[in-house]
């Protein structure tokens, strides 16, 4: 039914191609072209040898690698028990706990960084330990979701069968459960590794100057040292490494993937032991999720070791004392961030929506754009920003001073998520629904409007909410592209927390709290609106 014999009722080819115009332009102009320019700069320049031979680079690469490996292993270890409990047991409030575990993953990196600055003792500030703890907190959701998704479909009778064959609890775990979970654990490990390898905000706030990842070092060279060529070289090194890891992961992943059909294996806890395990795990997990966030709020209300609303009250001005300015206006940064979020969301939803419609309508020929819009996901945010910085510096493309360049960067990061939310909805439309419309006299164009375009109404709210949350929290690309007087909230948080004074630091915590609440509200509203649409 997917072949050309069904072509009588297709949209005209020019119509389908027109859909690709906007997304292809956005991705081509602001992502692919900068990426090519970046590669060209590296290939043509003389800085490759100099950069790679620079003292200290080995240490940066080593730290990037080992903190990512340790963070990944620690996340797997910590996420294992909650993944088990949430996948295998039904209990009141289970959905809420799953949602709570997902919250840190949705939080902007600067919020997580600030929260752990507020929570951890000063002796841990600027250490690898702090970075790893925050990474675990940030990524537990990946393990709980991916490993849990597999665990919940392993039939209970399969482990029962192992028991009737004489396997003890540990033997069941070792010989049956672990081998079946391995692909999911591997997938989770790959995702966590990629996130922590390119970690920026968390490392910048918590790692201190002694512990930079490649991502932080690239940004430092580009923005503080003015060594754009060197930054470009490191970006390409990082890109090559990421591509290699992804290629390896894809090869290993293809082997031995197993699917189960049938009911989810979750049930109510039966014995006292099971009930204790569930209650204990839920309590500890919720505490681990909530305490860093509470610590952040508490710290925003502390000044000079005492409770104080001063940091909140003085949010409006950049002056600490009359005549002494910090150069950062916290309240203004909120306005900037909100404006950028609106623009980035509009671009991301428009480009992502049209891209989804094109990919769905063009079928096999849509694959190219499908891959194209996903690429920014595999590129670190700092690299995206850096590419734009070195590409748009000559007329007629001298856009570095244009304010809209930052939200465009945000949109690039958000488009893959928008497409991954919208496209499955389009693909889930039964072909016969379009056929029914056609037999009722609808032209291909009318059919498309009435069925395809209309179906995007429901998932639009979550897609837009996701895009807005990404824009509000985006730190990497923004760090490269930002201009003074137009700081976004994350940039302002980063600067304020880097200051020595008590008030600016407290203001940094206030802003991080504002960002946390803002992100939470947007995601919650998008979620609720999305749900209501589903019921209707």
């Amino acid at each position: 039914m997917d072949d050309d014999r069904a072509s009588l009722n297709r949209l005209p080819r020019w119509g389908i191609l027109a859909l690709a115009l906007v997304p292809a332009t956005v991705v081509g102009l602001f992502y692919l072209w900068p990426l090519v320019t970046l590669l060209g700069t590296v290939l043509n320049g003389n800085s490759v040898a100099d950069t790679l031979r620079a003292p200290g680079l080995g240490r940066v690469v080593w730290f990037t690698l080992w903190q990512a490996v340790v963070s990944t292993l620690a996340t797997l270890l910590v996420g294992f028990v909650p993944a088990y409990v949430l996948a295998r047991f039904l209990f009141a409030g289970r959905a809420a706990v799953v949602a709570a575990v997902t919250v840190p993953f949705m939080l902007p990196t600067v919020v997580v960084g600030a929260a752990f600055l507020a929570l951890l003792p000063r002796s841990l500030h600027g250490t690898a330990t702090a970075v790893i703890i925050a990474h675990v907190f940030f990524n537990i959701a990946v393990v709980v979701r991916l490993v849990g998704a597999m665990w919940t479909v392993i039939p209970r009778d399969l482990t029962a069968a192992a028991r009737t064959l004489g396997a003890s609890t540990t033997q069941v775990l070792r010989s049956v459960v672990m081998p079946l979970l391995r692909p999911a654990m591997f997938a989770a490990a790959t995702v966590v590794f990629l996130f922590t390898f390119t970690s920026f905000g968390v490392v910048k706030l918590l790692g201190g100057p002694a512990n930079p990842t490649l991502e932080v070092e690239i940004a430092r060279r580009a923005t503080q040292l003015g060594d754009v060529d060197g930054a470009a070289v490191l970006s390409v090194v990082q890109l090559i490494f990421l591509a290699a890891v992804l290629a390896l992961a894809a090869r290993w992943q293809r082997r031995g993937s197993i699917t189960f059909f049938g009911d989810a294996a979750a049930r109510r806890p039966r014995s006292t032991g099971e009930r204790r395990l569930v209650a204990g795990t839920v309590t500890v997990t919720l505490l681990v999720m909530v305490i860093p966030m509470l610590a952040l709020v508490r710290r925003s209300l502390t000044l000079g070791g005492r409770w104080s609303f001063d940091a909140w009250r003085h949010l409006g001005g950049s002056e600490v004392r009359p005549g002494i300015s910090l150069g950062i206006d916290p309240l203004a940064s909120i306005a900037v961030s909100l404006r950028y979020a609106v623009v980035a969301t509009l671009i991301a939803v428009l480009a992502g929506g049209l891209a989804s419609l094109f990919i769905a309508a063009a079928r096999r020929r849509g694959q190219l754009l499908d891959v194209g819009v996903m690429l920014p996901l595999g590129t670190s945010a700092v690299t995206i920003g850096l590419g734009m910085l070195i590409t748009f510096d000559t007329a007629p493309f001298d856009w570095r001073a244009q304010w809209w360049l930052v939200p465009v960067g945000h949109a690039l990061v958000a488009i893959p998520f928008v497409v991954r939310i919208l496209l499955p909805v389009l693909r889930a439309i039964p072909a016969d629904q379009r056929a029914a419309a056609a037999t009722l006299g609808a032209s291909p164009g009318r059919t498309w409007l009435a069925i395809d375009v209309r179906s995007l109404g429901r998932p639009l709210a979550p897609a837009a909410g996701f895009a807005a949350a990404i824009s509000l929290g985006e730190f990497g690309a923004t760090t490269i592209l930002t201009r003074t007087d137009r700081e976004t909230i994350p940039i302002a948080v980063g600067r304020l927390l880097g200051r020595a004074g008590d008030l600016p630091r407290a203001q940094g915590f206030v802003l991080a709290t504002v960002l946390m609440v803002l992100t939470g509200v947007i995601i919650a509203v998008a979620d609720i609106v999305g749900r209501q649409g589903r019921d209707a």
């Binding site: 009778d157 399969l158 029962a160 028991r163 009737t164 064959l165 004489g166 003890s168 010989s175 014995s271």
Partner: protein, 208 residues
């Protein structure tokens, strides 16, 4: 010798088994007949130790095993939907119980070879279980549960859901296998013809 004495099971105030007793002597094959919803499978789960009963006890060879965990009871089970381990080959599935006992590789290989021959699947030893037909999967499940020489073998509707020809073929095969291995077995089914064909003795579990 298997004995279930006055087994009672309640799920949330719903009485599934009310003081049910049953015994199977050594080498005997007993069929437990009853309509669906009469708690037949529940009784098997209690005997296997997969479910702790609210009352009553399970005895094997004169020993009370009601509190003994499943893996130390020596009671095997064939599940209705086979429950083959999807990550293991046919031979590795059949050898699973032997590995759990800590059998040597030589012993495992010999026993697996014997059993695959017995069920007629020798050429499929290295095949992934995902690529078995319905009948082949049933035979592997049978061979797997017989491999560790269980003191009692429980069969939970093992032939339900097969098409007619295959069902009739396997009915004869199960009867032959249980005799050939001298296995003490308890078969749960809702099909009187199947019960008569396989078992030495048929008992019925009434509803309620």
């Amino acid at each position: 010798m298997l004995e279930a004495r006055e087994i009672s099971v309640r799920f949330d105030d719903r009485v599934v088994l009310d003081r049910v007793s049953l015994s199977v002597t050594d080498g005997e094959v007993v069929a437990l007949l009853g309509a669906s919803g009469t708690g037949k499978s529940t009784l098997l789960r209690v005997i296997a130790g997969l479910l702790v009963p609210d009352g009553g006890s399970v005895w094997v060879d004169g020993v009370d095993v009601t509190r003994v965990p499943t893996h130390r009871r020596g009671i095997g089970m064939v599940f209705q939907d086979e429950q083959l381990f999807p990550h293991l080959s046919v031979a590795r599935n059949v050898g699973f119980g032997l590995r759990m006992q800590g059998a040597s590789r030589v012993v495992e290989r010999q026993r697996v070879t014997d059993l695959l021959e017995l069920v007629g699947l020798t050429p499929l030893a290295d095949r992934p279980v995902a690529r078995l037909s319905g009948g082949e999967a049933k035979r592997v499940a049978l061979a797997r549960s017989l491999a560790p020489r269980p003191r009692v073998l429980l069969l939970d509707e093992p032939l339900t859901g097969l098409d007619r020809d295959l069902h009739d073929l396997l009915t004869g095969e199960v009867a032959r296998l249980l005799r050939a291995t001298g296995t003490t077995a308890l078969l749960v089914t809702h099909d009187p013809a199947e019960a008569a064909a396989i078992a030495d003795r048929v008992t019925t579990l009434a509803a309620g």
